[in-house]
């Protein structure tokens, strides 16, 4: 008796899920036909996409920001680990015989020239654009935030098509909040946000740029072509306990 009820319930549940699935599929296909460009972008390799976005931003971008923008903009979810492999692939392809016109590369620390793996840039940019001084982290964050907010602004103005404009608005608002701007629910004063961020950038950009340019000169002379893109190779770290004679400094 009870079983039969359960079976009926499960049947109806199954049926409904099927119906919802069909609905969903239909909506998706409709959407895809509406926004062709993105569907093409969906097929594009992540590498090319990042190259374009970085170019569009005009400044190095952080993996986390890229992932959170690509999702609403292109309707693609990029797993965090994907950027790791992207970095390795790019270095490999640089090492291979077939040279590419432009490479995806990293920012470099101003003193050591080490790769800052989460920040992506283009090999065809002048080196100072990719050097990270003490304040560069702040500048790049603000520039990335401004870029994101501007994307949302363009989408709202109908000058750009996004896979999910609503989510993009909130990604932009998050950036504004992270920058310490006052953010009210459901309000998106893009212009005001951009103005405040521009001021914040102006406060530090001068000094930062100067430092990056001098550092770049030194790095350029010190690093080979590969290192200039993917950073100096790491020195070895000796871990303790390797030899019985080894004694801890805290003893």
């Amino acid at each position: 008796m009870d079983e039969s009820i359960d079976i009926d319930r499960l049947r109806s549940e199954e049926a409904e899920l099927q119906r919802k699935l069909d609905e969903l599929r239909a909506t998706r296909i409709a959407l895809e036909q509406k926004v062709k460009p993105q569907s093409r972008d969906k097929a594009r390799p992540l590498r090319d996409l990042v190259l374009d976005l970085v170019q569009d931003a005009g400044a190095p971008l952080n993996s986390l920001l890229l992932a959170s923008v690509i999702r609403p903009l292109q309707g693609r979810t990029i797993p965090a680990t994907r950027f790791g492999t992207l970095s390795n692939d790019e270095a490999k392809s640089f090492d291979s015989s077939r040279a590419r016109p432009v490479y995806l590369c990293h920012c470099l620390t101003h003193d050591q020239g080490q790769a800052v793996k989460r920040f992506w840039a283009r090999s065809d940019w002048p080196l100072p654009e990719r050097v990270m001084g003490p304040m560069t982290g702040r500048i790049l964050f603000l520039q990335g935030a401004a870029w994101t907010i501007n994307l949302a602004r363009l989408v709202e103005a109908g000058e750009l098509v996004a896979d999910n404009p609503e989510v993009l608005k909130y990604v932009a608002a998050d950036q504004a909040r992270d920058a310490g701007l006052s953010v009210k629910r459901g309000e998106f004063p893009y212009e005001a946000w951009l103005a405040t961020i521009a001021d914040a950038i102006d406060r530090h950009i001068g000094e930062d740029r100067a430092l990056r340019e001098t550092a770049a000169v030194v790095l350029a002379s010190r690093l080979d072509d590969r290192e200039r893109l993917f950073g100096t190779r790491k020195g070895l770290v000796s871990l303790p306990g390797s030899t019985p004679s080894w004694r801890s400094a805290i003893e």
């Binding site: 952080n62 993996s63 965090a80 950027f83 790791g84 620390t109 003193d111 050591q112 080490q114 790769a115 800052v116 793996k117 989460r118 920040f119 003490p134 304040m135 982290g137 702040r138 964050f141 935030a145 992270d178 920058a179 310490g180 914040a200 406060r203 790491k234 020195g235 770290v237 871990l239 303790p240 306990g241 390797s242 030899t243 019985p244 080894w246 801890s248 400094a249 805290i250």
Partner: protein, 349 residues
């Protein structure tokens, strides 16, 4: 959840006499798995951090680090006597993401570089996010523990960096449960010890004061409270004692196991059951069975005041079926009987 890194040191510092704990630290895999392999039955209690805690912890960190560590800069600025906008931040996860050992080693290298720069008087970040440290023990299995404070904050007063940790649990004013306080202070203790080790490699004359900083969450949203500067001299020493104990336990476990896995020799190890184990260790129930017949089963205090007496002996003293063997027992017997009579009268009345 496995007993690794600073968790291991915190646990050892909390109960240095427990050899079982020593074996758990040496054993690969989770604490729960350790229980199951020792006891031979599935662990039937709650285990591990809850989803909601993990989520909140991650969100709290994300917020704190976002915007070039804006909330952190704002939280520390008053303490450092600087303008939040002027503070510089370096997030080592940006340099080298990931939680695998190679990533840790890479961040350790960067951290060491920054420490050297600071000693050499070169410009260094005021706040280092996700630095990596390492605390050595001795050659042998587990010759070191990876220690990863959430932060290192430059202290102009001390002239060194000091460790800082983010705690996503909510603090209304300053109410923090004693057990949580002890745990987080021991964590800071382990972090400071590791930091001292690193400084020591650079210049043995550098003195890192015994303090660390805690950033708790306010009740509304995920904003951090003003940092609490913790006085952790006692915690540092407790961690030292924990490490020394670990080395003793490691020696014993190694002598016993002859190459086998640590969990296999647990039966030959001495547990040191305490009330606190009940809320912190998967093995508590198992270890407790060893004191089950003794007064210590009524808690640490009972164990202290009555000594290593069995429950049966205690009951016999009360009933008079056993004669006291010394003053101590005589007084116990006398007072227990008086107490029993008094309560039986009340019952009757």
């Amino acid at each position: 959840m496995s007993v690794k890194g600073s968790t291991a040191l915190v646990r050892l510092a909390g109960n240095p006499d427990c050899e079982i704990l020593g074996a758990m630290v040496l054993q690969e895999g989770s604490e729960k798995r350790f229980f199951e392999r020792v006891v031979g039955e599935p662990y039937d209690r709650e285990f591990g951090e809850r989803q909601s805690s993990k989520r909140r912890g991650a969100q709290f960190e994300r917020n704190a680090y976002a915007g070039d560590g804006r909330l952190l800069r704002e939280a520390f600025a008053p303490m450092l006597g600087r303008d939040a906008d002027a503070l510089t931040v370096r997030n080592l996860i940006d340099d080298y993401p990931g939680s695998k050992d190679d990533a840790r080693v890479a961040r350790l290298r960067i951290t060491r570089g920054i420490l050297r720069d600071s000693v050499a008087g070169r410009a260094v970040p005021d706040i280092i996010i996700q630095p990596q440290l390492l605390l050595p023990t001795r050659p042998g299995p587990k010759p070191y523990f990876f220690i990863a404070p959430d932060l290192l904050v430059w202290s102009p007063l001390a002239g060194t960096y000091l460790p800082g940790d983010l705690k996503s649990f909510i603090v209304r004013e300053n109410e923090v449960a004693a057990s949580d306080l002890a745990r987080v202070r021991l964590q800071l203790g382990a972090q400071l010890l590791a930091l001292r080790h690193e400084y020591d490699q650079i210049d043995q004359s550098i003195v890192v004061p015994p303090s660390g900083m805690l950033l708790f969450s306010k009740p509304n949203g995920l904003a951090p409270h003003a940092p609490r500067v913790e006085d952790i001299g006692g915690a540092i020493e407790a961690v030292r004692i924990g490490i020394a104990a670990f080395l003793r336990h490691r020696q014993k476990v190694n002598d016993l196991r002859a190459g086998a896995e640590p969990y296999t020799v647990v039966a030959d190890l001495e547990p040191h059951f305490e009330d606190a184990c009940l809320s912190s260790c998967v093995m508590a129930k198992w270890c407790r069975q060893r004191v089950a017949e003794h007064v210590a089963d009524m808690g640490d205090v009972a164990g202290n005041v009555l000594g290593d007496m069995t429950m049966q002996r205690l009951l016999d003293l009360m009933s008079g079926s056993a004669a006291p063997s010394d003053d101590h027992e005589a007084i116990i017997a006398e007072q227990l009987r008086a107490l029993a009579d008094q309560h039986d009268e009340e019952q009757a009345a």
